[in-house]
């Protein structure tokens, strides 16, 4: 077990290194094109804006490694951000910690709803979360009645938290919110790489039949992973509120695809069983660095940004897949991998039906 797991980890390290290289490369390239690019201000901008997506990328990876997905995270962000903001609006004196707890509890409850249906209802994750993507959004729309919670009715500490800095050196600020995101990455990297239930999620994702044969309680673990994803999405909702201030019923829409993009660019296999939290973090960081760097290039008008970003994301994925194949020293027969995974998927479906 230990030797095989050590062998598994090697391609992951390579993937992380290649992502890190790509981030470094893009910083160097943009740094040589854009004047005054390599500054503390740019670092601060990236580390402030990336927080929500980093937490969501971790949340998404937690379910993707067990060959599931959560397309409802954007709606969970909306629900938790709105409910928390609404709570703070009427209880201005409330403890900040209580607000975080409320946001995460709301997320955990919604995640438990997803997880229960996926794990015990035998419904494919993509169908469940596509449904709750709509359902949760409907709930927050009904609750809000179309009214926004604006930044000026929120307590002052919410606005201050966004700019609060723990360590500062030469214009490079380490924001509190970014450190929280880093903390989330470290904790879940450790959970998935070292803890038993984390390793078991990989086992379920890479071969559900074998996992079942080995006596892994897949249903309970999948429910647990969805509760984890929901709580993190709730935390992301809190961070969203801190960063954006004004919360409408559509808050967080579209974040589901951003989180999947970050995880997948970060090397978390959509087919389950492979990828790391550190990779997902680097994926989120790479996309956000590219997005914000493009803003700094005057030749790229604002209308070009999405188009260029799409191309860069695709190039990053291609470069990454070629690079890791080359570095790992073997050419993977993709069709063989696909067929193996898809036949397992069919087998799983059969097993779930029986």
């Amino acid at each position: 077990m230990s030797t095989s797991s050590r062998r598994r980890l090697r391609p992951d390290r390579i993937k992380e290194l290649s992502l890190f290289g790509l981030i470094a490369l893009s910083v160097v390239v943009f740094g040589s094109v854009v004047e005054g690019y390599l500054s503390g201000r740019f670092f601060n901008r990236v580390t402030t804006s990336v927080v929500v997506v980093v937490i969501l990328a971790v949340a998404q990876s937690l379910v993707i490694v067990s060959r599931n997905i959560d397309l409802s995270v954007g709606s969970i962000v909306g629900v938790s951000a709105y409910l928390t903001a609404d709570f703070l609006q009427s209880n201005a004196g409330a403890n900040p910690v209580l607000a975080v707890v409320i946001a995460m509890a709301v997320g955990a409850a919604l995640g438990a709803f997803n997880g229960a249906i996926v794990a015990y209802g035998g419904v494919p994750a993509i169908i469940v979360t596509l449904g709750t993507l709509a359902l949760f959004r409907t709930l927050v729309s009904l609750y809000s009645g179309g009214a926004n919670v604006t930044a000026d009715v929120l307590p002052d500490w919410v606005i201050e938290l966004n700019a609060s800095t723990l360590v500062s050196a030469g214009g490079f600020d380490l924001r509190t919110t970014f450190l929280v995101a880093i903390g989330v990455v470290v904790v879940f990297q450790w959970v998935l790489a070292r803890m038993r239930w984390g390793r078991r999620l990989y086992a379920i994702g890479s071969n559900p039949d074998a996992a079942a044969q080995a006596g892994i309680p897949a249903r309970r673990l999948i429910l647990l992973s969805y509760i984890g994803t929901g709580s993190l999405a709730g935390l992301a909702g809190f961070m969203f509120m801190v960063r954006v201030g004004t919360i409408s019923a559509t808050a967080g829409s579209g974040l589901e695809l951003e989180s999947v993009a970050a995880a997948v660019v970060g090397g978390v296999s959509i087919l389950g069983g492979a990828g790391t939290i550190l990779g997902a973090f680097l994926g989120a960081l790479l996309i956000d660095t590219l997005r914000l760097s493009l803003v700094r290039v005057p030749q790229v008008s604002e209308f070009w940004r999405d188009a260029v970003l799409g191309i860069l994301v695709l190039l990053a994925v291609i470069a990454d897949s070629l690079l890791s194949r080359r570095l790992s020293g073997r050419v993977v027969d993709v069709s063989a991998v696909e067929s193996a995974t898809s036949s397992t998927a069919t087998a799983v479906k059969g097993a779930a039906d029986a």
Binding site: R137, L257, L309, G310
Partner: protein, 330 residues
């Protein structure tokens, strides 16, 4: 009849929901069954259901195309830009817009088949990139003033009460059913979706098949985008934004397995009709659009969940009702 129901449980369930919806709506609003309302009901979502026919092929084949809504917006934007700058005659502009859509599909198809990147990832990048391309062309403006025949094609009826788009949809649906369920090509789509390795060793050129399907999906999305432009009479960069989730919802509600290999065009058609009737009925009852979305979401989960729960109940208590081993196949 009984054996048909047994082998088409999913379709029967959908048909039941559909009939219940229609009966409920008719009792609530007697104008419901009028020709005008029926045509209108299809007309308001015609682009989505056209694209859903192509999406059914892609998902049964074991892939997915998240980029369809962006390709819709992109091809409409290409058409609008060519028209605005009066570079070529309008008819040629339509052809160019369709060729551009095909190229979009080709790029994604090659990335999937030649580079071996999962279609979910490739078309996710496509979703961002092609939407961006549409914004590049139109910036934040809107282009209209299309030739009169084009607007008429999108806004008036062509044969009897039927507008062009609805006729196109019905033809595509019939063609889709025939190709998927009555031709060798259709069988290949199922076999490949079920097990690519088996398909490969049976002599199917899996890559060529997938490439053609992804190009077809993009071309159909291009057609739908142009049709949308004709119906609206103007194009913005955000045309059809976020439609991909509705389209995929309809296909999955139709009983198509997200893992590929199973599903039927009849099921997809019934799912489309059910969603449209529910939305239309709630619209007639003045129910807010966002609640309609929630109801469709609940229906999607419920229709997949309820049969599973019943099945498990039967397995646990075999004496209640009769245990049927084949009942779980959706």
């Amino acid at each position: 009849m009984r054996s048909w129901i047994r082998s088409h449980r999913w379709e029967s369930l959908l048909a039941l929901i559909l009939i219940a919806t229609i009966v409920g709506n008719t009792i609530m609003a007697p104008v419901y069954l009028g020709v005008g309302n029926i045509v209108n009901l299809f007309w308001l979502s015609i682009e989505k259901i056209i694209v859903a026919v192509a999406m059914a092929f892609v998902i049964i084949n074991g892939e997915i195309d998240l980029s369809v809504a962006s390709v819709m917006g992109f091809s409409a934007a290409v058409l609008a830009t060519l028209h605005e700058n009066a570079v070529v005659p309008f008819g040629i502009a339509i052809i160019i817009a369709l060729v551009v859509a095909a190229l979009a599909g080709l790029i994604q198809g090659l990335a999937v088949t030649k580079l071996g990147i999962p279609s979910l990832v490739v078309t996710l990048a496509g979703l961002i990139g092609f939407r961006g391309a549409a914004r590049v062309l139109l910036e934040d403006g809107s282009v209209g003033d299309f030739p009169e025949w084009f607007d008429r094609l999108g806004q008036r009826t062509l044969v009897g009460p039927l507008p062009f788009g609805l006729i196109l949809f019905l033809v595509l649906l019939a063609l889709g059913w025939f190709v998927l369920e009555r031709t060798a090509f259709g069988r290949k789509v199922y076999v490949t979706g079920n097990n690519p390795a088996v398909a490969k060793y049976s002599g199917i050129n899996v890559e060529w098949l997938k490439l053609r399907l992804l190009v077809m999906s993009a071309v159909v999305a291009g057609v739908a985008g142009i049709l949308f432009a004709a119906r609206l009479g103007s194009v913005r960069g955000s045309l059809a934004e976020f439609y991909e989730l509705d389209i995929i919802t309809m296909v999955l509600l139709g009983g198509v397995s997200i893992f590929g290999g199973s599903g039927s065009m009849l099921g997809v058609a019934l799912a489309m009709f059910t969603v449209l009737n529910i939305r239309n009925g709630m619209g007639l009852a003045n129910v807010d659009g966002i609640i309609q979305t929630g109801v469709v979401g609940t229906l999607l989960i419920g229709s997949a969940l309820v049969p599973n729960v019943i099945q498990r109940f039967r397995v646990r208590f075999p004496t209640v009702g009769r245990y049927e081993p084949d009942a779980a196949e959706p």
